[in-house]
Amino acid sequence: MNVRLDDSTAMSVSIEINGVVRTEAVEPRMLLVHFLRDRLGMTGTHIGCDTSQCGACTVWLDGEAIKSCSIFAVQADGHKVTTIEGLASGQKLHPMQEAFHEEHALQCGYCTPGFIMSSVSLLRHHPEPTDEDLRHGLEGNICRCTGYVNILKAVRRGAKAIAEADQDRGDLQ
């Protein structure tokens, strides 16, 4: 067994981020959110509370929404991470981004990337979410500006848009 007790040793990690494999040497204690922001300069993922309550740092790990402030980069080695930067296709916003824009679901916008990552992940489990699904599913994200009303409106709108896009895709095939 190869257990090295040397906490200063940098370890090599390869993480596929938004479809591109990034290989970096990191200390084991480096959090995924710091890896994204400080190493890769991907500052769309925000740090709000830093104690895993607020959800501003939400990204997908292998397609599931998680809080990147509560996972080490070494734990993501060999896995796929999707950040808010990976949602849009070129200049075309993701339907959920579009819906947040249309419904004015943000004021300062700090929590928005996390909300959008959580919302799209939620819809994969509940394509036709009830109000209970939405409120329960988004309780890991905190917004201090909007009072959540417009956020819920946006997610409902986004859900509809995503369902229609899926339907169109199905019709074409």
Binding site: E27, R29, S52, E64, I66, S70, N141
Partner: protein, 218 residues
């Protein structure tokens, strides 16, 4: 916030994990979901020299119905408990409680049977853990020495919370044996804030051990 430095070992098997933990001395810890441990490290309440990551042991993630016994692996995620059809049929209370734990992002991480293996359950993260007529088998790198005092304290913590939910039966037995320990109980609701504050004086936090739960439906 930046956690203190530590060495990291990615375990390839349960044996590898328990052996590796032995290398790290008394303060080495397991890392599964990290939803308890990582915030504790960030607040510098703990500084283990070694973390043994058991997150890749996928064969510890399962829900199996075997006759009248339901087995839940140590690394099963709360969201898997919520959505598991067999569990919904045989032990719906486990699915229902999983639904109330933490938030969606927390439920997507392995839960490491935190309430059993860790005396600190951060507020909000773990709203409830229910163990139904359950036996937990804990893998350990060294015999778990659970003296009467510690056993009684753990039991009183669990009982305290069970008593708080009057609709639930209060009955626990804590059995300590050399090499492994078992918790056998009817219902456990070890919850959030007060359990956390009662246990805060204890050194261990998160990453305590991992256990398979075996529950029998009523």
């Amino acid at each position: 916030m930046i956690p203190p430095p530590f060495s990291y070992h990615l375990a390839t098997s349960v044996d590898d994990a328990t052996q590796a933990l032995g290398f790290g001395g008394e303060d080495a810890k397991y890392l599964a979901g990290g939803m308890s441990l990582i915030p504790v490290l960030k607040m510098r309440l703990s500084a283990p020299p070694l973390l043994v990551d058991i997150g890749a042991l996928r064969d510890l993630s399962y829900v199996r119905v075997d006759g009248d016994v339901v087995r839940v692996g140590a690394l099963t995620r709360h969201c898997d408990l919520m959505e598991n059809r067999a569990l919904r049929e045989y032990l719906p209370i486990l699915s229902d409680v999983a639904y109330e734990v933490g938030d969606a992002q927390v439920r997507a991480k392995p839960f490491n049977c935190t309430a059993l293996s860790s005396p600190i359950v951060p507020e909000r993260k773990m709203n409830g853990v229910v163990v139904v007529n359950c036996r937990a088998r804990v893998s350990a790198s060294r015999p778990l020495k659970l003296g009467r005092e510690k056993s009684d304290r753990m039991r009183s913590n669990f009982s305290f919370w069970m008593a708080a939910r009057k609709s639930w039966r209060v009955s626990t037995r804590w059995i300590s044996q050399p090499g492994h320990s078992s918790v056998i109980c009817s219902w456990i609701n070890s919850a959030s804030a007060r359990l956390s504050s009662r246990c805060r004086s204890r050194r261990a936090a998160g990453g305590g051990g991992f256990a398979e739960l075996m529950g029998r439906g009523d």
